[in-house]
C-alpha cells in the first residue's frame, strides 16, 4: 500500500504541505499523488512562491486547493489554455497541471492536442482513474470497452483512448506513465518531468475506490511493470510500440519517450524576460502613430 508514513516524516518542514481538509474519499489514489508532488517540489528546493498549480474541474483538479503554492483552478477541460496564458505572462514560475482523464482527454481534448504542439514548459499530471469521479461514475475517455459504469449500464460502447500513444504521436516531448500506488516510482517520474524543458505528460494510474470497480488498486498492482532500463527513450517508434501495451498484457510504467525541442517561450525570442516585467506606458505607441501620419 501507499507508504504515507514515510512521507509524513518531512511534512512538518515541507512548506508545500497544508492541513486543508480535502473532499476526497478515504483510500483514494489522489492522496499519494498530492503527497508525491509535495515531496518532489520540496526536494527540488522550490518554494511555494516559485510554483503555479493549474487545474480544470474534477476530483483531481481540486488538488491546487490542497497545496501551499500559487493556484489557478479554472473550468472543466480548460486548464491548458489558462496555463498557456499564465506561462506567456510569467515563465519564471514552475508550472504543474493536475487534471482528470475526463478533464484532459474529454472536455479538454482539443486543448491537449494543441498545447502539446506548443510544447508548453510544464508538468502535466493526469490522475487517470478511467472514470468520471466528481460526477459519480460515468465512463471517461479511458474507460475500457464493455466496462459497466453508473451510466453505461450495458457497458461502454466506444474504444478507450490511449493517452500515452496519442501523446507520442502528437510529438509530446516527454511522455511517461506512473502508478499512484507506487509513490517512489511516481516521485522519480515527477522529478524527471520537472527537469524536462517542455511538455511533460505523466499519465498516472489512479484507483477511484468509489466508482471504478474494475480498475482497483489490486488490478493495477498486478499489471504495472517498470519499463526495462535498456528502453531507448529517444526511439519514437519503439516508444509507440511500448505504448500499445495495456491491461492484461501488463501496464508499462516509467518514461516512454523524451526529446529535446524548443519550448513555447523559447520560440518567442523577442520576449527575453518574463512578459510581466516589461514596463509599458501610453506613449509607447507614438512610433506607430507617427508612421500613420503619411
Amino acid at each position: 500500500m501507499v507508504n504515507l508514513n514515510k512521507l509524513n516524516v518531512v511534512k512538518n518542514d515541507n512548506p508545500f504541505v497544508t492541513n486543508n481538509p480535502t473532499s476526497w474519499c478515504p483510500g483514494c489514489g489522489n492522496f499519494s499523488i498530492l503527497d508525491s508532488i509535495n515531496q518532489v517540489l520540496y526536494e527540488e528546493g522550490l518554494t511555494p512562491q516559485d510554483v503555479l498549480m493549474v487545474s480544470g474541474i474534477g476530483q483531481a483538479a481540486k488538488l491546487p486547493h490542497y497545496i501551499h503554492a500559487h493556484g489557478l483552478n479554472t473550468l472543466h477541460g480548460r486548464a491548458l489554455p489558462a496555463a498557456m496564458g499564465a506561462q506567456a505572462a510569467n515563465n519564471s514560475v514552475k508550472m504543474l497541471v493536475t487534471s482528470g482523464d475526463g478533464d484532459t482527454y474529454g472536455e479538454g481534448g482539443n486543448h491537449f492536442l494543441h498545447n502539446v504542439r506548443r510544447n508548453l514548459d510544464l508538468v502535466h499530471i493526469v490522475h487517470d482513474n478511467q472514470i468520471y469521479g466528481l460526477t459519480k461514475g460515468q465512463g471517461s475517455p479511458t474507460t475500457a470497452l464493455g466496462q459497466k459504469t453508473r451510466l453505461q449500464f450495458d457497458g461502454m460502447r466506444h474504444e478507450p483512448l490511449n493517452p500515452v500513444a496519442l501523446a507520442i504521436s502528437l510529438g509530446c516531448t516527454f511522455v511517461a506513465r506512473s502508478f499512484s500506488g507506487d509513490p517512489k516510482h511516481l516521485q522519480k517520474t515527477i522529478k524527471a518531468a520537472l527537469d524536462h524543458k517542455g511538455y511533460a505528460l505523466i499519465d498516472v494510474m489512479q484507483p477511484c475506490v468509489s466508482f471504478n470497480e474494475v480498475n482497483t488498486f489490486k488490478w493495477y498492482k498486478e499489471r504495472v511493470f517498470e519499463i526495462a532500463s535498456d528502453h531507448d527513450v529517444t526511439d519514437k517508434v519503439k516508444a509507440f510500440e511500448l505504448a500499445q501495451t495495456f491491461g492484461d498484457e501488463g501496464i508499462p510504467i516509467g518514461i516512454l519517450y523524451r526529446e529535446e525541442s524548443p519550448s513555447f517561450m523559447e520560440r518567442i525570442p523577442h520576449i527575453d524576460r518574463p512578459l510581466v516585467d516589461y514596463v509599458r506606458k501610453p506613449e509607447d505607441i507614438d512610433s506607430l502613430l507617427n508612421r500613420m501620419i503619411d
Binding site: 486543508n20 511555494p48 512562491q49 503555479l52 493549474v54 474541474i57 481540486k62 491546487p64 486547493h65 501551499h68 503554492a69 500559487h70 493556484g71 489557478l72 483552478n73 479554472t74 473550468l75 480548460r78 491548458l80 489554455p81 489558462a82 496555463a83 498557456m84 496564458g85 499564465a86 506561462q87 506567456a88 505572462a89 510569467n90 519564471s92 514560475v93 482539443n110 486543448h111 492536442l113 494543441h114 518567442i268 523577442h270 520576449i271 518574463p274 512578459l275 510581466v276 516589461y278 509599458r280 506606458k281 501610453p282 506613449e283 509607447d284 505607441i285 507614438d286 512610433s287 506607430l288 502613430l289 507617427n290 500613420m292 501620419i293 503619411d294
Partner: protein, 555 residues
C-alpha cells in the same frame, strides 16, 4: 463641400490599392476622409466596393450613392447607373449608355503605361487631379514593399490619368496632423496604449484585423500575439495571462463570443480583469460574415450563467474606439471584471482621417497592491475595487485564482454566508460601475422636440442626419450611448423635461438597447428606426424613416 467616390470590382482586382492611394494622398492634401468597405465573404471574385467620402470637414458616415465611380470590371461598369448620383461621373474602360463616362480605353493608353494595374492607377491619377492635388504629390504613389518596376509603372499610369483630368474641385483645407485608421486598428492601438501584453484569439471576420495589426507590431511593442485552437482557448489564455499580472485581451465576432461565454463568468467569479472585443456581424450562426449589425447586445449583457458584474462599452466612432478601449483596461483593472467592447463590421472596416491620438492625456491605472500585506485577502468581500495582487508581485504572497464560490483567500467554500457575501460584493460592484459610467453624448438643437436614441456606431449616420434635419429647420437632437451596460436608473432624467418624442435608432430588429433602457430606466421609445439588412445606416435612410414616422403621426 463633400464628394463620394466608389471603387468597385471583384476581390483581388485592386480596390484596396486604389482606395489606399486616394485616401492617403487626399488626406495629405488637406481633405477629411471617411471610407467603408462593402465586401463579400470570398477571397476572389464577387462584387465588392469601397466608398470613400472626401470632404473639407470631418465626415462620420458614408453615402449610398457616389459622385465618382471607378469601375474595375464589367459588372461594376453596369452597376454604375444604380450607384451613382444623377450627375455622377463614371471612370471606366468602356462607354456607358446612360452615365457620363470618363473613358480610359486600352487602345488609347501609351505603350509604357499598359501594365496590369494601368487602368486602376490611371483612375487614381485622374481623381487626384480632380481634387486639385499638385503634380509633385503624385510621387506618393509608391509602396516601399513593392518592386521598383511596379512602382514605376504605377506612377506612369497615374501620371497619364492625371494629365487627362481637367475638372477640378479643390475644397481642401489647412489641417493639423491627422492619421488614417480603421476601427479594428483603433481598438488595437487603444489596447497597446493601455499596455496590452498578451492577445490570444481565433480568426473570425470582421474581428481578425485587430489580431493582424497587433501581430504585425508584435516585436516592436514587445507583446505576444497567440492564435489559439479555438475561442474557448483564446479567452481562457487571456484570463490565465491576466491573472498572472499582464494586461490581456481577446477578440472575436458573435459566433466566437458564444464559445467564450463560460469563461466570461470565470473571469468574473475569479475577479480577473479581462477585455474582450466582440466585432458584431449579422447572426444567428454563421449569418453574414462580412456585413454589419448591432444584434449581439442583448446576448452580451446577459451572457454566462449566474449573476455578476460586467461592463459593456460600444465605441461611437473610430476615434472613440481608441479612447474607449484604453478606458476598458483601466475599468477592468479597477473593478476586476470582464469588460466587453462591442463594435461592428461598420466600425471595424471604416477608415477615418482623425487627429493623432493624444497619448499624453492617458494614464494606465493598474489598481495593484505591490507591497506585501499582513494577512492579505485577495478576495476581501468589502473590496469593491483595487487592492489586487498576482503571483510574483511580491516575494511572499501566495495567490489562488478559483472558479468556485470562494472564501476571501480564494479557496472553495460552500458556506451559505460566504455565498451571499460574494454575491453582494458583485452587486455592489455593479452599482459602483453604474455611477462611474459615462453619460451619453448629446448632439443637436437645445430646443429639441424629437430625441433620437442610439448606441455604438449608429452615432455616425445619426449625427449627419440630425445636422441635416436641423439645417432644414427641424427641432431634433440625439443621444449616443457608449457605456451601454450597466445603466443608472436616472441616466435619462436630464433629457426628459421637455417631454420629447423619442425615436430609438438601432441596427437590429428588436430594439435591444431600447429594451435595456426601458428595463433600467422605465423610459420608452415612441417610434423606432431599424436597419437589419447587413448594410450600415446612412443619414439619408434615417431622414427618410423620420419623414415616414412624422407622416404617420400627423395622420
Amino acid at each position: 463641400m463633400k464628394k463620394t467616390i466608389i471603387v468597385a470590382g471583384a476581390a483581388g482586382e485592386g480596390i484596396n490599392t486604389v482606395e489606399m492611394f486616394i485616401e492617403k494622398i487626399l488626406k495629405h492634401s488637406g481633405y477629411s476622409i471617411y471610407s467603408y468597405k462593402n465586401y463579400m465573404s470570398r477571397v476572389r471574385g464577387g462584387y465588392n466596393y469601397s466608398t470613400i467620402v472626401v470632404s473639407s470637414d470631418p465626415v462620420y458616415a458614408i453615402e449610398e450613392q457616389g459622385d465618382i465611380f471607378i469601375a474595375l470590371n464589367k459588372e461594376a461598369h453596369e452597376l454604375a447607373s444604380v450607384q451613382l448620383k444623377e450627375d455622377g461621373l463614371l471612370i471606366s474602360e468602356m462607354n456607358h449608355d446612360n452615365v457620363k463616362t470618363i473613358l480610359f480605353s486600352k487602345e488609347e493608353m501609351p505603350h509604357e503605361v499598359k501594365g496590369k494595374n494601368a487602368f486602376a492607377m490611371a483612375s487614381v491619377g485622374w481623381v487626384l487631379k480632380y481634387f486639385g492635388v499638385t503634380e509633385s504629390n503624385l510621387e506618393r504613389i509608391t509602396n516601399k514593399k513593392w518592386r521598383p518596376e511596379v512602382n514605376a509603372s504605377n506612377l506612369a499610369a497615374a501620371t497619364w490619368g492625371y494629365e487627362k483630368a481637367t475638372l477640378t474641385a479643390d475644397f481642401s483645407k489647412e489641417q493639423p496632423e491627422r492619421i488614417l485608421v480603421n476601427g479594428n486598428q483603433a481598438v488595437a492601438l487603444g489596447a497597446l496604449s493601455a499596455g496590452l501584453s498578451f492577445y490570444s484569439a481565433y480568426p473570425m471576420a470582421p474581428s481578425t484585423g485587430i489580431m493582424t495589426y497587433l501581430s504585425a507590431n508584435e516585436k516592436e511593442m514587445n507583446i505576444i500575439v497567440e492564435q489559439t485552437e479555438d475561442e474557448i482557448a483564446g479567452i481562457m489564455a487571456a484570463v490565465g495571462a491576466s491573472s498572472n499580472g499582464v494586461r490581456a485581451m481577446t477578440g472575436t465576432s458573435g459566433g466566437g463570443f458564444a464559445l467564450m461565454v463560460e469563461t466570461l463568468g470565470f473571469a468574473a467569479v475569479s475577479e480577473t480583469p479581462l477585455v474582450v472585443c466582440n466585432v458584431q456581424r449579422p447572426g444567428p450562426a454563421t449569418g453574414l460574415p462580412t456585413r454589419t449589425e448591432q444584434a449581439d447586445l442583448a446576448f452580451v449583457v446577459t451572457a454566462s450563467q449566474g449573476e455578476f458584474a460586467r461592463i459593456v462599452l460600444a465605441p461611437l466612432t473610430v476615434e472613440d474606439a481608441f479612447y474607449t478601449t484604453h478606458r476598458a483596461f483601466n475599468l477592468a483593472d479597477k473593478y476586476q471584471v470582464p469588460v466587453v467592447i462591442l463594435t461592428d463590421q461598420l466600425l471595424a472596416d471604416s477608415t477615418q482621417s482623425i487627429p493623432i491620438f493624444d497619448t499624453k492625456s492617458l494614464s494606465n491605472e493598474r489598481y495593484l497592491t505591490v507591497e506585501p500585506v499582513e494577512d492579505y485577502k485577495r478576495y476581501d468581500y468589502d473590496a469593491i475595487s483595487g487592492g489586487r495582487k498576482y503571483p510574483g508581485i511580491d516575494k511572499e504572497t501566495i495567490i489562488m485564482t478559483d472558479s468556485h464560490v470562494h472564501d476571501p483567500y480564494g479557496h472553495v467554500t460552500e458556506d451559505e454566508q460566504a455565498t451571499v457575501l460574494l454575491k453582494n460584493k458583485f452587486m455592489k460592484r455593479m452599482d459602483a460601475i453604474r455611477t462611474e459610467a459615462k453619460a451619453p453624448l448629446f448632439h443637436g438643437s437645445e430646443d429639441y422636440e424629437t430625441l433620437f436614441i442610439s448606441w455604438g456606431s449608429t452615432y455616425g449616420a445619426l449625427k449627419e442626419a440630425v445636422d441635416s434635419l436641423i439645417e432644414n429647420g427641424e427641432k431634433v437632437a440625439l443621444l449616443a450611448f457608449s457605456d451601454v451596460f450597466p445603466l443608472s436608473e436616472s441616466i435619462m432624467d436630464p433629457y426628459l423635461s421637455k417631454k420629447p418624442f423619442i425615436i430609438n435608432v438601432e441596427g437590429n430588429a428588436m430594439n435591444q438597447f431600447g429594451q435595456i433602457l426601458r428595463m433600467e430606466t422605465g423610459v420608452r421609445w415612441q417610434a423606432s428606426i431599424n436597419k437589419y439588412d447587413g448594410r450600415p445606416f446612412t443619414a439619408n435612410y434615417i431622414m427618410n424613416e423620420f419623414e415616414v414616422i412624422r407622416n404617420g403621426q400627423s395622420k
